[in-house]
Assembly symmetry: D3
Homo-oligomer: 313 residues x 6
């Protein structure tokens, strides 16, 4: 790999950055990130990057907003240090869920992030499994989106998938679940939750499709507080489901997520390392699959001008 390829990372996921660099056979770029008493971040790039093909990695892990500012300042520093090209590597894209105006007078913050990245001087973006595929259209600069589905599917295919169904936890996730059901050649079920009428507060839960006596796999792009998934586990249990597995690309796992997961009857939770899993979140039932190899391959191809879509053929 040319010495003109450099990867710098912020404080959000140094383990993933290190693993990607190992895959690429390079050392992570030397950078000094300082936080002054006034909370101002100073990023100093410690090596010459003139004419280099620079990748800057930051994922949207807590502290999220601190991490975004760190990323923007790092990009600005790299740009003014005369890098030839800057690619922001964002394994978990910040504000990915703020992708539409579902209330009056809010910001489509995922689009704003794209604008801020461009303002700071990013030339291209490399990310993974955006919450909606349309988000790729928020960028005027080229944006490559990697897909962790093959990694998750490969893992599930190794299990005995007899008598399994794929469950969408609500209608909005049906398309995503259907995609996995097709790849794994499993039937699809959808959870349909709604209030019985305006006067009653009771929620009627209904499973569209058949889960009785079946093991169930729930796939999602991200798990946040684990609320919907854990409620789904309870519901399908009542409808007679067997073992329940959950899998997601981006394990945000904030708020009561870990408490709920630990209290649940979930058989296994399969995640990737787009977000770091701090010690307090580690659990024997959680299985982490690495996306480092995939990112390294994509970075190598971007650097060499080779096709990225070919990876998924």
């Amino acid at each position: 790999m040319s010495d003109k390829l450099k990867l710098f990372c912020g404080n959000s996921n140094p383990m993933l950055a290190k693993e990607i660099c190992e895959n690429l056979g390079i050392e992570p770029g030397q950078v000094h990130i300082q936080r002054y008493a006034n909370e101002n971040i100073e990023v100093q790039i410690l090596e010459n990057v003139r004419g280099a093909d620079v990748f800057v990695l930051q994922t949207a892990s807590p502290p999220v907003n601190e991490g975004i500012m760190e990323l923007l300042i790092m990009i600005d520093a790299v740009r003014h240090a005369s890098a030839a090209r800057i690619t922001a590597v964002l394994p978990y894209y910040p504000y990915a869920r703020s992708d539409k105006k579902d209330k009056p007078r809010i910001s489509i913050a995922a689009r704003l992030m794209a604008d801020l990245l461009e303002a700071a001087g990013v030339d291209r973006v490399l990310t993974m499994n955006l919450h909606s595929p349309q988000t790729q259209g928020f960028f005027r600069i080229p944006a490559d989106q990697l897909d962790a589905s093959p990694i998750l599917c490969e893992y599930f295919r190794k299990k005995n998938l007899k008598n399994f169904a794929v469950l969408a936890v609500d209608a909005g996730r049906a398309k995503w679940a259907a995609n996995y059901a097709k790849r794994l050649k499993l039937p699809l079920a959808i959870l349909d939750k709604r209030r019985r009428s305006d006067v009653e507060s009771a929620v009627v839960e209904n499973v569209i499709g058949d889960v009785k006596g079946k093991h169930v796999a729930i796939f999602d792009d991200e798990i946040l507080t684990a609320g919907s998934i854990m409620a789904a586990v309870d519901t399908i249990r009542k409808f007679g489901a067997g073992d329940v597995y959950a899998a997601c690309v981006h394990p945000v796992l904030e708020g009561p997520a870990m408490e709920k997961i630990r209290a649940s009857s979930l058989k296994e939770l399969v995640i990737t390392n787009t977000l770091p899993l701090p010690p307090q979140k580690q659990d024997p039932r959680i299985r982490v699959l690495s996306v480092a190899g995939l990112f390294a391959e994509a970075i190598k191809r971007i650097h060499k001008g080779e096709s990225v879509s070919e990876i998924f053929e």
Copy 2:
């Protein structure tokens, strides 16, 4: 309404423009659109627009690309004629379905349209029911999106909705259908079509949810060739459904659409006039609901600086 509010329309939907103007109590702006022997379009605005709040209406009806060029040229003419503000009114947004990169090396053309509109000089956009809500994020300029669902729901509520279900023709449309099911307080069913296995070519059709003996309403944002909907009608008939209604906001109805609809057992097709319905597409079973009042109300509010979201409260 101030004489500083002006609405010009291209050749795509003059009837709708006229109806909107009647609602607003104004005359459509005078414009001369000429097509020379070399197919070059010349747009001449025939009245002074300096300092005016100009709305330019064009919908994505055939000839679609001709219409886009006409729109861009009209906007450029209005801008250089010193309008104070230009709002593109796009009842059916062009290239709305090209909203994601589902194949390698294609254009997200819905985003490109936004870029072209901004390049031509549009200050804001007013549209209706984008194919995906994320498309609103393709605009850096303010973009208001109107929703025709209340108009369609109001029409259906007037029918006897006893023993009805709402059907999503595939998992990808489940969210949209669920929204209607909730508004109309009807149960939801989803059609799940897939190949039985790799070797067999046979498609297995399955209805997730219950339609037996029920009348069924299929809602979609647009109907293009009517292929999926007509296939769905056949399938649910086999599963014992009663009368089948279809409804959409944007009646594209191209290719074999009218032929299929006429040959089908569809009870009624409910559409709006975001796209014109030329004589050869008119049919006794097709019912057109007008969105002119809604657009007029939104234009009036935009012009006066009043809230548009309040319309939907």
Copy 3:
């Protein structure tokens, strides 16, 4: 030629693109252009273009506006596929005649085209004989303009040019005609047409300069409906001219053009292939000169960083 040089072409002039590629010793780039039932164009680039020096060829032949949209979408697809540089190759520049505001409140559409091309992501433009030389100033990006005059002059020099004159069909074309007259060392004549007075409708035709007993060559940058040229042929015949030749770079030849040409006493019409000549327009008196070699040479030089102006020294 490096494998990093790629030329893709739209549907407007595949023969010219093929001929240019043959001159360059490369294969035209693989691209799939699809037109859906809703008339939406989808362009899929079928080969990797990351880091490539991509040329996208489209000429303004009918359907003109369809061709422009196809071009813009193709450019957007190439850009998001991470090409290193994109040059739009526009043998006949679209809307070239809309280069000034000769009526109130019209668009200078040739300038708008430049804006749209830049918005879509073009880095540079290569075109030929713009209707006015000022149009080159409509681009903020570098724009190379080729000149087909040497090709036309070389062809005429091979004829016996004794007793010839060059005719400008009106005062507005005098400069263009004078340029050819100087290159071919021939005298210049200008047709001056005007109404005798306000009350009379009669048009007085006058030839400024001498054509009596001379063969006449009429040069123009483009022939659209052939109206002015054919009228000129009749007039100068009355003034005693001998054989009349006409030549242009861009043979638009729309509307009654072919009918008029076929009915005329024109000796020969010399054109280039910047626009395709469909079978119904072919005629024994029409002579097509190819600009493919010139475009290939320019593309090669642009790709290699060699001077383009040197071609014309």
Copy 4:
């Protein structure tokens, strides 16, 4: 006239600015323009312009480049002082003749001026008789172009125009001359100058059209060194012309211009005051027509949102 309309002027043509202000019934805006020992210009706007509709007048009179910098700095000062809208009023547009790339690797400086004006913060431009009409397309912002032809024609119509012809001094000016010939209903003649052959250095002068025994009026957009016009006077004299008048919109009159004019047999030189006529250039045969009324009318209409093109109907 509202107190929100303000006109500031640089050092290029304070008399014209004053006359325009008198027509508008306003006082010129207070501004202090200082030139320090290091030749740096400091512009201080001495009155509040927040929310004002500001017009900044500067014409391209010597020192031309000094004047351009003064203009750009004044615009920047006005913009940061929060004017609502800034219109650059440029009676004689700077670098108007640098409107095409007629040599390799030169700048189309007239386009660069447009870019610099936009970079400094101009919202719109008001100018008069650009050297080529295409130059209007160099602006992405709205640009109004006034025409002094009616003023010149009105003046000539008051003369006895019997036995007159209009002369174009070369083929490139034929279109401009033809326009005047038509307005004044006079015949057109064109001067055609060229070398007889490559070996001989002698220039053959030829008049296309008839000037013998006629009085001749030469119209041009600008007179620079008066070289072409004075040579034309001599030539047509030889061809038997009577009195010769010259007229132009922009009297640049630099280099040997005044010397040549004074030595010539020119009957009268008619100019406008888009450029100041310093005492050393004043001459009994020079007649200055004022464009102040026309500019004042245009500024009033721009300010009030009334049509500017109507002035010329």
Copy 5:
């Protein structure tokens, strides 16, 4: 005050916002700022802002980076809600000290903030006492800078200023201190600290000017950790100074600041409320002067199009 003037504030300094609104006689704009479990901020503007002149106030108080993101998202929400104009009101400008490249390959983050604000859609900025006056040049949009010096000076003038001197804590602050010395007509002294030689670590402190037996006032634009000021107090005590007062516009007071201040012999610390003073930082020796009136006056003038510089005349 027109109902079209609206002021929204983030979480950084609601007390100041409230006080400014009271001065303006308006209610703070209704806004709902939510922080989800994934730390994503959602800002919903709860009232119609179409056509309004919106001011968004945020100061750089901890958590600083969280506050910047909140500000950018709020601006984006206001912009897409179609405000007529957005002014960011930034009493203490974020990253104000990162205004130069004093190390290789760092970001001039104060400039980046300006870029991000413009990218988010701000039309103008209102701030107070930037760390360097040049920072105003980081904005392409109009930026008004208020000065709290008159407020601080007015407070000090009320004291008995006999036998007082103004001290600059190092040469870099001499200009700022000299400004206060002139306004208060007091002599100036400068602290000059440096190492005696390269080998010795001892620092030689020297007071340039005379403080013996004098009371001393130290002025600064901001106090961060209070390190330099407290060291200065000790030093000048050794040099025989009497009472020591310190004053600054922006009381950042982070890290050991409060501890040092409480342990010091400082007579009084005078600050303003550009930053909130949380309970744990309050102290009997700290005197807070309000800038709310000044901000209210400036906002009123900006809204009404009146001069802001006049406030300081």
Copy 6:
């Protein structure tokens, strides 16, 4: 050095350009700069620059504004001639002192220059000792700033620096002077000039620090009219100073500068060649140090992608 590195220079400092080229081992690029009778500048680049790494040198020497226009036009010509990258080399940055808004409604012209350079098409800037370090933040493009201090210090270190002090001529220059004092390990003194009171016109001069019996060196970034420095020489003489040396990077030396210098008792004036020293300014007491080697080294490193900051380590 690759033939793809080219340096073109305007008329401002051809000697420096020549010396830089000699250091780089290249010939200055061939360019023809013409000034027409109408004062319009035409720049023609006489050699192919496609794909070249072009440096354009211009310094802010008189005629300053003429030089800026020449520079902008040259950059535009190079850009449209398809250079790969354009670096403006500005040894003395134009309008460097206009870096803040110290009066109401003036332009921060140093920022405007940055905007104009970017508008013309510059990709990066290389300059030396900006009047304020913040000015570097005026550029969105990468801007390298060289420092001539080592060259000046090296020269002074060769003198016998015993019994020397460094003097700041006012508080505003204290920081700059302190920097030199530290580098040369000399004590610092500051001149403090002020009016005694409002009623008296007498100015009280005071030296903060000790100069009695010492030789004094005054350092500044630029000397304009030499007013402050010459006044300082007189003052410190009165306070008992010995020999007085002055040194600056940028010798503007306009207005009465040379007269004052020649009349003064200044021992030596040390300058660099960022600005040319025309014959009438040459003087035996003026010593010129060359920055050509430093610029050549920086250009070489920028071209090769090597670190520029390393030069100063």
